[in-house]
């Protein structure tokens, strides 16, 4: 059986509205420049936006195991390699741009021809034109209610904060054994090769403590990311997850009870052989979305479609108004302080 989850007073949670994501990776770069720009962290993407259906980052992470499948025993997994995460390549800029060999050399990693890297399959669609499709999956640490990483660590170096449920790796206690990297079913933990410790998304806890939303939330130009305490009935997160139940955990069968919830993607319709729209059809197979979000995805998509129909008929939809987020301050559950008032921790 899965171990008892650590007890917390409150849980911060996120909702990512996949229908609004542009795949611009502003979130990814916001995180990279704030947290993972030091030596030993080059290949880290604590936040990444993957194209789905796709192999994700690290490559094929959904096939690797980990977690407590259906609440049962821990499932063995393995540590992804740097290549699977995506190597932070050095490129042969000198040769191509400055060495006079621009006509004979092409730009490539110094380590040689590559056949995989982070975002290798970005924007690659599935299916045949004109019915091909893809969508974006936004990944950070899920700050799980029952974190497999925490349970796997033999040193209790990983802890879940009692006041907000943020999961952190104590960098002093971590000995770099990397059992957490194996056990995390979402494969959101990296190994710092300089400091020889494991590292991951910290939900920008120094910002949270000052009332500021995490960088990836705040800088998202599409207002994709909602933040709030799950029990804060005024927060958009509470309404979307608990009240209207239109946001779902990714791979709930992994058994770690993740605290990032997703509004699943709606589809454009399919075209028939004559190029005419097939009314009522959906480009993205429901079965694929069920494989990501479980059987509830049917109910959620049907709810969203019904709400859209309501607005077409001139009625108001509180759900859609919340998701549209005309006023950005309404999506962060009170974490709306200006980040410019903060000092970067040293």
């Amino acid at each position: 059986m899965a171990p008892e989850p650590p007890k917390v007073k409150r849980q911060l949670a996120a909702v990512f509205d996949m229908n609004k994501c542009l795949g611009c990776q502003t979130c990814t770069i916001a995180c990279k420049t704030l947290w993972t720009d030091e030596e030993g962290m080059e290949y880290m993407w604590w936040n990444i936006v993957s194209t789905m259906p796709g192999k994700g980052t690290p490559k094929d992470w959904q096939e690797l195991g980990g977690g407590f499948p259906n609440g049962g025993d821990p499932k063995p997994s393995r540590i992804p390699t740097i290549k699977e995460y995506g190597e932070a390549w050095e490129f042969n800029y000198e040769d191509v741009f400055y060495g006079g060999n621009g006509m004979s050399q092409h730009l490539q990693p110094k380590s040689g021809e590559a056949d995989w890297g982070a975002q290798w399959d970005e924007d690659q669609a599935t299916g045949d034109y004109p019915n091909s499709y893809f969508f974006y999956l936004q990944m950070i640490c899920m700050h799980c209610t029952n974190p497999a990483c925490l349970a796997a660590c033999p040193r209790q170096a990983i802890y879940k904060r009692v006041d907000d449920g943020i999961v952190l790796i104590d960098q002093e206690r971590c000995n770099g054994y990397r059992f957490c990297m194996e056990a995390c079913p979402y494969k959101r933990i990296y190994f710092n090769h300089t400091k020889k410790v494991s590292q991951k998304c910290i939900l920008c806890y120094p910002r949270i403590e000052e009332g500021v939303a995490p960088a990836c939330f705040r800088q998202c130009p599409g207002r994709v990311r909602f933040l709030g305490f799950l029990d804060d009935e005024d927060s958009a997160v509470h309404k979307l997850v608990k009240k209207w139940k239109v946001a779902l955990p990714l791979h709930p069968e992994y058994g770690t009870q993740p605290n990032v919830y997703y509004v699943p993607p709606l589809s454009p319709p399919r075209f028939d052989d004559d190029g005419d729209v097939i009314e009522g059809s959906e480009r993205i197979p429901r079965s694929y979305l069920e494989s990501l979000f479980g059987p509830d995805v049917d109910r959620v998509l049907d709810t969203l479609k019904a709400e859209m129909e309501k607005t077409r008929n001139g009625d108001k939809s509180e759900i859609l108004d919340t998701l549209i987020a005309r006023e950005w301050k309404h999506i962060f559950g009170g974490f709306t302080k200006d980040p410019a008032t903060l000092r970067r921790p040293t």
Partner: protein, 222 residues
Amino acid sequence: MVKAKRVSSSDTSLLDPASPEWDQVGAVELPLQPTPLGSQPSLYVQAKWIEKPYGVTQHVSVRAAHNGERLYFRLSWADDTKNDFIRDTDQFADAAAVLFPVNGAAPLQSMGTSEAAVNAWYWRSDLEEPFSVTAQGIGTTKRTQDPELAAKGAYGDGAWSMVIRRRLAHAADASFSHSQGRVNLMAGASELVGFAVWQGANQERGGLKAITPDWLALEIEA
């Protein structure tokens, strides 16, 4: 029993595992065994390693010597692969440790207890300096840098040889105390000692190691 012979060799020569000075010191072959799976402190580790052998090092050859100033252990063990640099996320470094009970009641297999600590001199092939490690039970190890510790490893012919040493204590030494979580050893003393080896190629780390089944007597020649 492990006997630390008094020799008159220099620190430089004794710290070199290849030094001929070690020829004057007899070796003991000690059998090692894997730590019990049931004592691994996380269910994940138990689930992962139930069908995978670990603690695969079967023997360690130990020589011990002191020159009145410092106590030296020379360990050698078979290892098919030299893993002295962590290039990839799934790679681990070869390592070895010499363990002592901080007081005689500390059990070896559980890395001591909350009342009785163990102290280890821990060498890892990818690190510049060895660590002094104290533990009061499994999963409680604390590493500290100890300027009196030094170690040197050499790999060849399918085996590691490694010397690790620390300053001996003297009767007049005010710091002679077992209570600080570090063991201080004196010439002429009878102590207890254990040994552990990790094979990086087999992803051995933490509690996944080969260890002497129990403490061995350590006689430090007067």
